[in-house]
């Protein structure tokens, strides 16, 4: 039996922690109270972050219910913008810019090096689920070309050594505890 009075915000509250709900509430305050759609984008970003970098249909529906907008309004946004991922992603997403300035300064070598080191192609995720690499358009950091973004952080003036360091730093975070002990000497 359908309970017509059920609290439509409950669903999202079950899916993400209260701190994330609070973050969404902060965003909602920025827009006129009678407008329900402006917080869709920020809410999706918050949810995606709490779900390992991608969105599921269930999460999009929960956002729609929470904001009291039609489901389709949320799908539209999630499918239009490139920062929303609708497929499973690695724990860390490495976005390589291959646009004009970066390609002039050797982004093809960055891509090649990443592909060789991680043994995957652009758009793929490593078997252990740690790394996804993807190609992106200009990130407004062309003065530091070639560049890539790791999660939320830009890395500029890349060299093979810098890339190796980025990869090993991330790998170290995901080392099983036992190995970490061994490394700790």
């Amino acid at each position: 039996m359908t309970d017509l009075n059920y609290d439509k915000s409950l669903h999202l509250k079950e899916l993400i922690p209260q701190s994330a709900i609070d973050e969404i509430e902060q965003w909602i305050l920025k827009y006129p109270a009678e407008r329900k759609r402006p917080p869709i984008m920020p809410a999706l970003k918050v949810v995606q972050e709490h779900n390992g970098n991608y969105l599921t249909t269930e999460m999009m529906q929960a956002v729609a219910e929470y904001l009291d907008v039609p489901h389709v309004a949320v799908y539209e946004v999630a499918t239009f913008y490139t920062m929303f991922n609708l497929n499973e992603m690695g724990k860390h997403v490495l976005s390589v810019c291959t646009n004009l300035s970066c390609s002039l300064r050797g982004s093809d070598k960055v891509v090649e090096h990443l592909q060789n080191r991680l043994n995957i192609k652009l758009g793929e995720t490593t078997k252990d689920g740690v790394f996804t690499i993807k190609e992106v358009e200009c990130m407004a950091a062309c003065g530091g070309a070639p560049m890539l973004e790791v999660d939320k952080v830009y890395h500029e003036n890349l060299t093979e050594e810098k890339i190796d360091k980025i990869l090993s730093d991330i790998a170290a975070q995901h080392m099983p505890a036992k190995e970490e002990d061994n490394n700790g000497k």
Binding site: K45, Y81, L104, G143
Partner: protein, 423 residues
């Protein structure tokens, strides 16, 4: 002299702090307004005199734009800052946001006062987490000093500013797409008219300017419109930030007087990388047609000079290209970008960008036909002027530029199935 306007805090310690900004005269124009020493008509007059032109790409006079806003119309009005910075080659707004956020805040507050708008949104591209944090920090500082918010400095002027983050879409840099996006929708441009000044965010009168445009305003009002005008040249007032990238020794942002010779700018950027030969320059972002070295070396960096030479100053993104570059490859990458970023709303752009990209890639793969070149030029011509927004033109103009100046490289590749430059 460089870095006199938007980058004037750059050499200070913590250039992004309120203290640094106030030490160079920051917030003095806002204080003058509050003290009743500067009214909206005087501000618009100074802006008109300064010949400040929109720094987002189109170069529309900012003073004139502000005068179009129906400031006496009752109801909510908005000022919106376009910090979407997506035009390939452009990376100046990111540095204004990171290194001098208060100047943008003051510029927007002044705009709010002039246009009777009590709310502003700063729309930053989705990947700008670091600039976002800086802006949030600066807003907090400004709020704590009552420079932003209700009853600013005890007056009856109220202005609230909000930072917004996009979701990754070049098209959202187009002002009406940006407005749609801010409303929480897909970023698909609106038909104009009505213009944002009459029907903008949430259907209310809205003024949209680029980050650098707003951030130039406080300095103009402190020193006068004439001062700014004199920094540049007639009709091209002031300084402009040039984002220099590509094959130079020291890529970076250079805030210099409009009208500075290109060869001086090249020198500031450390000259050509590894002493290579300059082949060509894309002078104003990826949408601006490429110009050969010999043309560029004679030009000054201003709207009129670059326009007369058949290209555009655009966003001030100067991409420097050396002799090792194959123009067919560069054209293919450019075409691919616009194909990826077309919003799909208008068929000439949606179909045309994909077609151009496929044909140029076919030429690259050695499958080109002699008629491809004229067909490319014709299709590019057919996109132009036939779309709701200027993305169509932005996609077509550079392709026409590559064909006009480097047709021989396309012909060579079609005939010999290999690059004229790379072999």
């Amino acid at each position: 002299m460089a870095n006199e306007v938007c980058f004037r805090t750059l050499d200070l310690e913590t250039p992004w702090s309120l203290e640094a900004y106030e030490s160079v005269g920051g917030y003095s124009s806002l204080r003058k307004i509050i003290a009743g020493e500067l009214d909206h008509e005087k501000i618009i007059d100074e802006l008109k005199l300064s010949a400040l032109r929109g720094r987002g790409g189109a170069g529309f006079p900012t003073g004139l734009k502000w005068s179009f806003m129906p400031r006496n119309m009752p109801g909510q009005k908005y000022v919106v800052c376009n910090s979407d910075e997506g035009e390939p080659g452009t990376f100046k707004d990111r540095d204004i946001l990171r290194f001098n956020p208060h100047q943008l805040i003051e510029g927007m507050a002044i705009a709010g006062y002039v246009m009777n708008a009590t709310v502003g949104y700063n729309y930053m591209r989705g990947e700008f987490y670091e600039p976002f944090d800086r802006m949030e920090q600066a807003l907090k500082e400004a709020r704590s000093k009552n420079l932003i918010g209700d009853n600013i400095l005890g007056s009856d002027f109220c202005f609230e500013l909000h930072n917004h983050l996009g979701g990754g879409a070049y098209i959202c840099g187009e002002e009406t797409a940006l407005i749609e996006s801010l409303e929480g929708k897909k970023g698909q441009p609106r038909f104009k008219p009505p213009f944002p000044a009459n029907y903008g965010v949430f259907g209310r009168p809205t003024n949209v300017n680029n980050t650098e445009s707003y951030a130039s305003v406080p300095a103009i009002l402190e020193n006068g419109g004439q001062w700014f005008l004199d920094l540049g040249k007639p009709n091209n007032g002031g300084t402009k930030i040039f984002s220099v990238s590509g094959h130079v020794t020291n890529p970076g942002n250079f805030e210099i007087n409009l009208g500075t010779p290109f060869k001086d700018l090249l020198e500031m950027a450390g000259g050509m990388l590894a002493g290579n030969q300059l082949k060509a320059v894309i002078p104003g972002g990826s949408s601006s047609p490429i110009l050969p070295a010999e043309v560029m070396m004679e030009l000054t960096m201003d709207y009129d000079a670059i326009g007369k030479a058949g290209s555009m100053l655009g966003s001030g993104a100067v991409m420097v290209i050396d002799e090792s570059v194959c123009m067919v490859e560069l054209a293919a990458r450019t075409a691919h970008f616009y194909y990826e970023e077309s919003c799909g709303q208008c068929s000439p752009c949606r179909e045309g960008t994909g077609w151009m990209s496929r044909v140029i890639h076919r030429i690259l793969e050695g499958e080109g036909k002699p008629e491809d070149i004229d067909n490319l030029d014709r299709v590019a011509g057919n996109i132009m002027g036939r779309t709701i927004c200027a993305l169509g033109d932005a996609a077509a103009m550079p392709i026409k530029g590559f064909l006009k100046n480097y047709r021989h490289e396309f012909e060579y590749m079609i005939e010999h199935k290999r690059s004229m430059v790379k072999g």
